[in-house]
Symmetry: C2
Subunit: 473 residues, 2 copies
C-alpha cells in the first residue's frame, strides 16, 4: 500500500488523478509484495547500528547495498564524504558517507527529494525481543526486525514506488532525488554541512523535500508538520584514579556516583516538571488556532495505556498528553556509563561515571541557550556540594525543533493522496521525537519540507520488537 501512497503523492503533486487508473497499480503492488519483503529481510540482516563507531563498517555496507538498489533502478549515485569524527581517545574516524542520488530529469516537472536513513538503533535479543532483531520475521502480517519501520522499510518502499512506475512503464510524474544517510540515530553528524555545501548544486532544482521517518499517532493516517529538537548531555564526574572497594573506602571519599545522582536528581521532578531555570519560560505560547488542531486527532488513551502497559499518563486529557509530547519540552534520563550495570552485585565505588540525559526542544527554545542554562545550573549545584571530584558537562547533540506551514502545496498534495488511498482525511500531527534534518532542510534550502509517515503507533520504533506491517509496507 505504501508504494501506492507514494505513487499517489507524486501524482497529486503533478496533477489530479482519476480513480480508473488505479486498478492495475493495486494488482501489481499486491502481486510483488513477497519480493519486496524479501528485500527488506536482507536489509534488516545488516546490523547497521550507528551509535557505536565499531559498527560503522556495517553502516557503510548498508549504504552500499542501498546505492546498488538505486543504480539498479537507473539512478546515478554519489557517496558523498562528510568528514570524520574525533573519538574520546583522540583518534579520528571517517564518518559513513551520504547517498546523493538522482534519476533522469524532465525540466517541465517539479522535483521531489526524498530523505531517509539506513542506520538503526542498537538491538539485542536479550533486551526482550521475541524474535532475533536482525532476522526479519513475519507474525500475523507484521514484519518484526530492527529498522523495519525506522527507517529501512520506508526507504525501500520509496524505491519500490519508483520500481512500480518502471515495471508498469509509466512515466514518473515528478523528477526524483534521494538523500540517504547512515548517522541519523546519533544526530546526523556531517549531514548539515553537506546540505549547506550542496545547497547551490544538488538542492538548487529541488522544489519539495519529503521525509518518511516517523509513524502516525494512532492507526489513522496522518501528516506531520513539526518535530521536537533534542539536546543530549553527558555529565561526567571523575574521582579517584581507580575504582575503589566500597567496604574499604566507603565513608571516607567523595564518591562520583553520589555526586552524579545528586546532579541528575536536580534536573526533573518525578511529576515531570523540569527544574532547570529558563527552559519552561522559553516555550512558545499556545494559540487558539493551534489548540483546535488537537481536537479531532484520533488518539485512544485507553488503548495506548494498554499497549504501553501503564495505568496512567502524566496528564489526563488527550490534548494535554499530545501537547506534552509535541509542543512542550521533556527531559529523560537515559542511563549512566561507567557504573556497575551488570546483573548480580558488586561492591564498587566507580571512579568515573557519565550520566546521560536529553531535553526535547520545542519552539522557541534554542540549543546554544539551553546548553548554557544546563551547564550553569548543574555547575552551580555541583559547586554547592564542595566535591573535589572533576565535573565535565558536554552537549553532544544540539538539534533544533521544526514546524512547517500547513498551507504549502506539498501538504495539500499529501492530504489528497492519503484521502485517495486510505479514504480518510489525515490527522495533522507533530512528532515528539527529533528528525533534525527537517529543520535543517527548511532552514538551509528554504524549500517546502513535509513529513509523510507510514505505519501505526504500535510499530515500536527504538524499542524491542520493532515492526512494520505488511499492510503499510
Amino acid at each position: 500500500m505504501t508504494k501506492f501512497l507514494f505513487y499517489m503523492f507524486m501524482m497529486q503533486m503533478a496533477c489530479e488523478v482519476t480513480p480508473s487508473v488505479l486498478d492495475p497499480l493495486f494488482q501489481y503492488i499486491d502481486g510483488n509484495q513477497d519480493k519486496y519483503v524479501q528485500r527488506l529481510k536482507k536489509w534488516v540482516a545488516i546490523e547497521s547500528e550507528s551509535s557505536n563507531s565499531q559498527s560503522w563498517k556495517e553502516v557503510e555496507k548498508m549504504l552500499n547495498v542501498t546505492a546498488g538498489q538505486i543504480r539498479d533502478l537507473g539512478g546515478s549515485v554519489e557517496l558523498a564524504s562528510v568528514g570524520s569524527q574525533e573519538m574520546p581517545s583522540g583518534e579520528s574516524i571517517p564518518l559513513p558517507p551520504v547517498i546523493l542520488a538522482e534519476f533522469k530529469k524532465d525540466p517541465t516537472k517539479p522535483t521531489l527529494c526524498v530523505y531517509g536513513h539506513v542506520d538503526v538503533q542498537p538491538a539485542k535479543k536479550e533486551d526482550g525481543w521475541v524474535t532475533d532483531p536482525y532476522n526479519l520475521t513475519e507474525v500475523n502480517g507484521n514484519l518484526y526486525g530492527r529498522g523495519a519501520t525506522d527507517n529501512k522499510g520506508p526507504v525501500l518502499a520509496w524505491l519500490h514506488a519508483v520500481e512500480t512506475y518502471q515495471a508498469l512503464k509509466q512515466e514518473i510524474p515528478v523528477n526524483i532525488k534521494f538523500i540517504i544517510e547512515g548517522m541519523e540515530e546519533v544526530g546526523s553528524d556531517g549531514l548539515e554541512t553537506l546540505i549547506r555545501q550542496r545547497n547551490e548544486s544538488f538542492f538548487s532544482d529541488v522544489d519539495y523535500i519529503v521525509i518518511s521517518d516517523n509513524v502516525w499517532v494512532s492507526r489513522k493516517p496522518a501528516l506531520t508538520y513539526g518535530t521536537r529538537g533534542n539536546c543530549y548531555f553527558c555529565v561526567e564526574v571523575e574521582g579517584p584514579k581507580l575504582d575503589l572497594h566500597s567496604g574499604v573506602f566507603g565513608g571516607s571519599v567523595h564518591e562520583p556516583m553520589t555526586d552524579l545522582i545528586a546532579l541528575l536528581g536536580s534536573l526533573i521532578e518525578p511529576s515531570g516538571r523540569i527544574l532547570i531555570p529558563g527552559i519552561n519560560e522559553a516555550v512558545a505560547s499556545l494559540t487558539e488556532e493551534e489548540k483546535k488542531l488537537y481536537k479531532g486527532i484520533e488518539f485512544d488513551l485507553e488503548e495506548q495505556k494498554k499497549d504501553m502497559g501503564i495505568p496512567r499518563f502524566l496528564h489526563d486529557s488527550k490534548e494535554e498528553i499530545l501537547m506534552s509530547r509535541w509542543r512542550y519540552p521533556s527531559l529523560s534520563i537515559h542511563g549512566i556509563e561507567g557504573d556497575f550495570s551488570d546483573p548480580g552485585l558488586k561492591t564498587v565505588i566507580p571512579r568515573k561515571v557519565i550520566g546521560k540525559f536529553s531535553i526535547r526542544q520545542v519552539p522557541n527554545m534554542d540549543p546554544p541557550v539551553v546548553e548554557r542554562q544546563v551547564k550553569e545550573y548543574l555547575q552551580g549545584i555541583f559547586d554547592k556540594h564542595k566535591s573535589p571530584n572533576k565535573l565535565k558537562i558536554t552537549m553532544i547533540v544540539g538539534a533544533r525543533p521544526w514546524v512547517a506551514d500547513l498551507m504549502d502545496p506539498q501538504y495539500v498534495a499529501g492530504r489528497r493522496a492519503i484521502k485517495t488511498v486510505f479514504r480518510v482525511d489525515p490527522d495533522m500531527i507533530r512528532e515528539g521525537s527529533t528528525i533534525p534534518i527537517a529543520q535543517t532542510f527548511q532552514e538551509v534550502t528554504g524549500k517546502s519540507v513535509m513529513m509523510l509517515p507510514i505505519g501505526g503507533n504500535d510499530d515500536a520504533e527504538h524499542s524491542q520488537n520493532e515492526k512494520i506491517s505488511r499492510f503499510v509496507f
Copy 2:
C-alpha cells in the same frame, strides 16, 4: 615470607620459638618461591567470578583444584554441598560446594581452622587493567592478577606453609583444618547454614579460627579485630512494558529512571551524610579506650591521597578518616541495571531499572532493622511522588558487623608472630569491608576468631590491577 608468618603463628600458638631454628626455614621458603608463584599463576588463570551464576562452573573448577592441592599434602577433603540458589527466572541452580579439609590429628595439640575463598570479583581488561587480569604478571616484584591478594594468594600461602613443614620434615605444632568457599564475593551463600550444621562435628574440636582475607592499612603489618557488615539493596522501578523512545513519549509518561534517581538521591548527601532515619542513631558510641587505639596507627594521608588520585578525603584527620571507614556506617551507590550504560548515546526511556546500593554495618546496627528502615523510608518517598510505576526493594545481602576481644590468646600469638617475622608491633586495625564469615564463626561456634591479613594497602583488592607482592607472598 607469608608462609613464614603463618609458620611462626602456628608455632607461637603452641610454644615459644627461639631465633636459632629460623634460618633453614628462611632458606627453604626463599628457594621455593618461584614454584609457589607458578602455582598462583595457575590459580589466577581460572576465572572464578562468583557474581554471575554463568561462571559458577569456573568457581567449581577452582574449588576442585584447591581440593587436589590439599589432598597432595595428605589432607582429607569433603566437598560439602550447600544447597541451591533460586534465580530471578525462577530456575534453581546448585551453589558451588564448600571445602572442609583436615590433616592427621594429634589430640594433645590445639586445633586451628583456616578460612579462605577462591572466588573473585569480576575483572575485565577494558576496565583499566594494565595486564590481562587472568594472567598473573610480574612487574617489579609485584604479581598482578585478579584474586592475587583477594584471596587466592593467601589461601595458597597457607597451603605452602603446611608444605614447608612437610618438606623440612617438621611436625606441625597445631592440628590444622581448612574451610574454603567459592561464594565470598557475593555474600557466602549457604556457608552460614553449613557452619551451623557442622558446629557439633567439624568445628567441635576447633580452638581457633583464622582468616587471611584482608590487607593492612598501610605497608606496616597489622592484625584485624573487626569488620563492617553489609546490607546490599536492589531498588527496582518498573514502568511500561516496553522501552520507550524518549522523543515520542517523553513528557507524557512517568519514567522509571526519573523515579529511581529521585529515590537514590534521597539516600545520601554529597557530604557523605546518610539520610535514612535511624541509621546514624544506631551507631555504638566511641569510648576513650577505643579512641586510643587509633592514635598510633601508621596511615600516611598524603601518600593515600596520591595513590588514590584524590585531592582530599571527606574528613581531615587520620583518626576521623579511619573511623569513617571502620566504625561508622557508609552508603555507596554502585550502579543501575537496565538503563543505557554503553558508550555512545541512545534516546531511550528504559522500562525497568534496578538501582544498587549498599550500607556498611557497624555495631550496633542490625541488618533486619536496617532493611525495615530502608524500605519504609524509600517507600515513603516513592508514595509522595504518586508514580504509577511499580517499586520493589530487596535486601539481597544482610551481613552483620564483627568485633573481637583483643586479649584473646590467638591475638597474643599473632602479635608475637608478626613481631618475630617483621620486627615491628602490629597496628591493631579494623576492616571497613565485610567478611561476614568472621561474625558468623564467632556467633555460631563461639570460638576465637582472628583476622591475620597479609599485604599492603596498595594491593588494589576489588579494583583494577589487583596484585600481591612477592615479598609477602
